[in-house]
Symmetry: D2
Subunit: 466 residues, 4 copies
């Protein structure tokens, strides 16, 4: 073979090696995504650094990364040791150097992606990828907070913080995570401004202030939320952060699927800069287009005490699965791909809104005005009998529309011993039934078109029904 | 094609369909394992029942199982919705019928495998597969226990159970899980009987009895352990269970890697029958040869209150990854394969013991007599300087022996605010340094041979060193 | 789970089954492509019909589809028996019903795709997918032709047809396939019309006509070509077909990569309708975006005698690999995807032409006018020293441009005992050196842009050199 | 992480690199097989050397290795350019250095494996892996022989060799490959010695000798066979080779599935050393446990003229698929694994024989004595009506026994214009009907046991029938 051809092949091989080393040294998303084969090759190379893949390794421990099924081995790229050690979920594993590098890289790339979304103040050292969903991650944060506060204050039994103040959001996960970690909940309902449900800052301050509440010192933290179903708006996290600073109370932001919205990230960034934010928790799957399974806990640089505590309190090791999924995904997306997805989502939001307006107006309904919710949209179902509202959702599902959420008026639900009136709406007396639809990351334009079509048909059938 | 051939092919196809339906109706491990292709075909078939895989589905929710990377999609068989719902980690997901069936099946097969190991009293309704490792699972159990006890007793603040009694086992995970869930720890050290460290039942009873301890009612539960490093023996779980029954205290058994030993399972079975056992927790990966990531929480049939509470308290959904790994593995093993692995492990234990005896005796050392530890074996390192003991381990690792654990004398470690003297040995004054080796499930005979060879060489080099 | 959700899942499952049965009954490309998982599931289902995948099959033959490596098994979806039987490469295999169905389906879909390209007269019964490349397939056609002609004419030894008339095309494969099958070659050079090299019909007729050539009866067939490098044009296959009809000589069209061009297919269709075409041979990989390995032999409906003979003369069975690749690909493309690719290719041809014109004009060169070559384009390299022309190609390759072909003037090459002067240009005295570039199916617009950039740079460097 | 651990990982990585370079420099099967992941990593690394996988490659040729389907890409590891060039099927491809290396390696490892089987005289330079099955490969050999003989002798038309002498073997492939390449067949029937059908050397010599046959110079070659169904024995290839040398006639051995038998290889080796063997052809799939699709053409070192001619006459390139399959398989087997398979096959032959004897004797039948067929065994079906004999085979197939072959008496079949009486038995008047079973490589002991069981049941049913 002529040498010029061999030289080209050789350079191709070097370009790949360079790609790998650049990734490790740049600590950023690659500008352009990698192709699948390069990614697989990268993972297999790292996998060979784990002792279970050493040729002729002989294992005499109680866990040696042995796997029975080749199919299982393959889907895990031979990375069987999980991540973390019993002392720290971010610690390197001596037996599994490859897995350790993968965990570190995933953390770094996720932190970079979150910066791109607008969380400028965070940093890979204050970002922790947890192989737990948002709910369990919040639970870990609350457990860490308790451990921290006990150590800090060497508190006497009866002075221990036992209550978490929560701005109401009618989705079970967050409130359950508070209860699961052994705290009592103090619910702060939103207030209605036109169509929109916004943070009741006055009520919140009342809970925090010493005058009104003798038990102030028993409040462990405030939990606010950004991403949520319309007509609830994102909490005014900046104002909450300022209140928390004023009253010296910890502040945890539940940013479940907010990383996909630059608007929401800007709000959180402002809260971190101008007030107190101890920790922000977000879903991995909802924001980064991976299967359900992980979450991210982060804080602004220099303020990572709670993230560190979560890391260190975590007992034992954890699955590498969601770490692997997000690493592969971010490498394949690259910066360009991720930014394109963020852009497309914003465009889709506008398109979805117009589609909803077009259809709603034909049937005497309207889109709720919720300027502070950049992801979810609500449409009134005023003309329907309240008991038929949920039927509307199942009719949509039958037409292969998944994820629309119908909310009738005045349902009540009890979670633990907390009773929530008007459940679903996050408000006890929302004036209308409605359904919601979201412009989430990764939605394709085609889906909006097909949704409009099916919605139209559903309305038509629904009208006959009522 | 002659009809007889087509008939054969047709019957082959029916045999497969029958295989699938038999599995669902028998609710047991198949006698013989399935081959890889049948398993993949089964998973792909189920995967098509999840809405994200519906042809022409149009998603308008905030989580629609969208996945960016084909590579990620493939390794997850298109099962992106995870398992569970915000209300219950075992609940079916309307949007993901396939994933829901997979989760149920995995649970059923794991329960069957555990019965085969000897836990006859359990049942798939009292068995819960958690996508969390042992430590986090214990944490979930303790959280559930707290929630249960509060509900039960409607306890006043100052009467709440705040302490967990723990029979000492020097591995960080268990004690960290107690601390992480906000409990205080009361350590019960073992006693030394010949070489072996066994449960100090007297000391334990002292903690439980009203006379000696005014705070009895503040004890949330006792945590005992079965699988552990020699020379610590399995706890006498039967005796502990009887004490717990007598003093009406909850009892959680940490059976981390004990399912692989029929001996340990027999002990637990006896404990469940003759005394009080509220819950048994075990690792998925250490017992079933899958990657790190899951655990099993179980209880005897009719006594599943705590398992149920764990299920219901779990906030949000969870990764399907370890569920998938164990389902694939058990289908591939079948009952026959699983029993063979259990048999081989027992044979390997004897072989490993003999190999250690042969080598140890050449260098003036001996195997510690630990008849109540059926998995791990210890070998004295008496002739060595205490400060060189850990060196022995790293010399073995250099010779590609992973997992041997060296324990020097009189180290001390502080976990949270608990100080453990003689750390590593689970005993403050164990009379000798030693190293351990385990005959874990899946070990191959070849590994024992190669270990003996490398151990011999290591001893030779080590002797020169000291 | 609510029944409406289960019903949806159930319907999803039925939709898939319906998809499969529709494919089999429609015998056409699906309108929209299938996704990867549906395809895999389909293949695994069929694979279970092969006896090597029967549960508990016991094989006592000399070939039982046993495969050592799981990796190999997986990449072949367990389809190990290949296609065909010793009697006929299209015959069903009793032991491998699944593989047989796959082979049939691939054949049907390929025939449909070729019709979409414009070969309306063909039919799946006269279309044969061969697991051989174009060259070997031509060889098989010539072998079949010989067998047929011998049977037909019961020819005496000295009257046997021993010569194939070939319209010159300077690419080794076709001429080698003639020589390999034991025929002598009679070369008919093209004539130059402006820039373009077109079929010399007069010369061809001279060879065929009895008056000028006493050995007419010794001509086995004429081989013409459609797709080729510019400045050679597609042969005037319609005129050739008419001549072949007139002189009663068989006519084989080498349509190597012509299926991707509707223009070329229209020409062949006209030739089949208005004259004599015994068989058309085309590459699988060059037209359908699969790896190298297969070819298609076809004829118009009702005229499949030669295709049948190829099928029946094929000794033994053959690899299923390229059949599998093209089946997967066509299912994934669907009709819509395939048509889009055909459209894009035509657009790309225009873009490529404009890009070449822009760059060539800057350096005093020009694009050759070759209106009858809808795929390949030539650009003069007049200003260069003839001995540096090939350097131009390697300079492009160094800039990661692959596939450009540089042709210096007056090279000579001997293939077998046939001497070709002016080799590369398909003409002994083409008046200029040149290079070619092709707008092949699957080319992305980005590649054209990047090519223009690199070409510009290469010209700049090349000018300095000369 | 402690440096000793990192050092271990680093050394693991180096060991892998070393493994790769050792393979390339040793040019032998690795002693121990590689695991799947190492193999995948190796292939992906090589794949990156092909231009279609270069990052930012821009292709302007007519074939650029573009592939539409990710699924197709993955199953081919991105190796899309096939093997060979239009000039030579073994030539390196400038655009595909990785594929070229893979093709070379596969060739080298296959040659090494064949040496291990006993073909000591061959060499990787005289061994050619063809992506064609045995039949098409024989066809290529005959085509190459014609081309060679024409060049050599510059023969006049009427002196051309037009006949191939073939020792009869009733399997269609070989005779069809002779006919397909345009030769006439001269059949030499075997003679019956006790139960066994052995080479009729006298008849063969008669054909070759000038005295008896005036057309001697028209014989192109003799084709003998080794592996075959009992009661036909392996040809006495050594004696045939001596005759061929004596009469200066080429000799091609059809060793279809003989590489798996050391006994057959020893015979061929002797033939190559003591007489004339121009070429030996064998199946890839039947000998190396890969899917149907390839064959090996080889000759003794220094005598590779015909192999070379095959290589060079091959028109165009070819699929890499079977090359890839055998490379993966041999790397996974290693020398140890391959030798174990050879040993097991020999043991299985004895077991199968005993199983057949046990069962046959119960039903008044017996195993045919065929000491010169080390793979296949025949069992008489004397007591049956001749017209029911084939029924016996389909009864076995219904019991999931595949591959048993039943041969009734006195069938006649015409292939081309050759009539074969007593078809199936390779003999016009074999005295009994029978069925055959083979101990082929890769057979598992379990299959023999299950076969015995099913055979017993089939006999029982069959007896009732007759």
């Amino acid at each position: 073979v002529s040498t010029s051809y061999v030289r080209q092949a050789d350079e191709a091989s070097k370009r790949q090696t360079k790609l790998f080393s650049q990734l490790v040294s740049n600590r950023k998303l690659p500008t352009d995504g990698w192709n699948e084969q390069v990614i697989e090759s990268f993972l297999l190379e790292l996998s060979q650094l784990d002792s279970n893949n050493f040729l002729d390794n002989c294992g005499v421990g109680e866990r040696e990364g042995r796997v029975y099924s080749k199919l299982v081995q393959r889907r895990n790229f031979g990375l069987h040791h999980g991540i973390g050690r019993s002392g720290d979920v971010s610690a390197d594993q001596p037996k599994a150097i490859g897995s350790s590098i993968i965990a570190k890289l995933a953390n770094i790339l996720v932190a970079d992606a979150m910066k791109i979304s607008g969380l400028q103040s965070i940093d890979s050292t204050t970002t922790l990828l947890l192989p737990l969903c948002t709910g369990m991650s919040l639970c870990s944060v609350f457990n860490a907070l308790r451990a921290h506060q006990r150590e800090e204050q060497n508190a006497k039994e009866d002075e221990r913080q036992n209550t978490i103040v929560w701005t109401r959001l009618d989705q079970k996960t967050c409130i359950k995570s508070i209860l699961a970690s052994g705290y009592d909940v103090c619910v702060v309902d939103p207030i209605l401004e036109k169509d929109e449900l916004v943070t009741n800052l006055q009520a919140l301050e009342k809970e925090l202030s010493a005058e009104e509440n003798e038990n102030t010192k028993k409040i462990a933290c405030v939990v606010s939320s950004t991403s949520c179903f319309a007509p609830r708006a994102s909490d005014d996290v900046e104002a909450i952060a300022k209140l928390c600073q004023k009253y010296n109370v910890a502040h945890v932001i539940n940013n479940a699927y907010g990383v996909q919205s630059r608007k929401l990230c800007v709000k959180i960034e402002a809260a971190m800069r101008k007030g107190r934010v101890d920790c922000v928790v977000q879903s991995l799957d909802k924001n980064f287009l991976v299967p359900v399974g992980g979450a991210i806990v982060c804080a602004s640089k220099g303020n990572g005490y709670l993230v560190d505590k979560v890391r260190k309190l975590y007992p034992g090791r954890a699955s590498i699965s969601s770490t692997l999924d997000v690493l592969i995904t971010l490498l394949e997306m690259g910066k360009t791909g991720y930014e394109r997805l963020l852009d497309e989502r914003e465009t889709n939001y506008e398109k979805l809104k117009m589609a909803l307006e077009r259809t709603a107006s034909k049937y005497g309904e309207r889109v709720l005005e919720t300027p502070n919710n950049p992801i979810s949209l609500g449409v009134t179902l005023t003309s329907s009998r309240n008991d038929l509202v949920t039927k509307f959702g199942s009719m949509l599902f039958t037409r292969r529309v998944s994820g629309a959420r119908t909310v009738p008026m005045q349902e009540t639900k009890k979670i633990g011993d907390v009773e929530l009136r008007g459940f679903g709406a996050s408000f006890s007396t929302y004036p209308t039934a409605y359904f919601t639809a979201a412009a989430a990351i990764g939605m394709r334009e085609k889906e909006i078109e097909s949704f409009e079509l099916q919605l139209e048909k559903t309305f038509k059938d629904f009208v006959k029904l009522t």
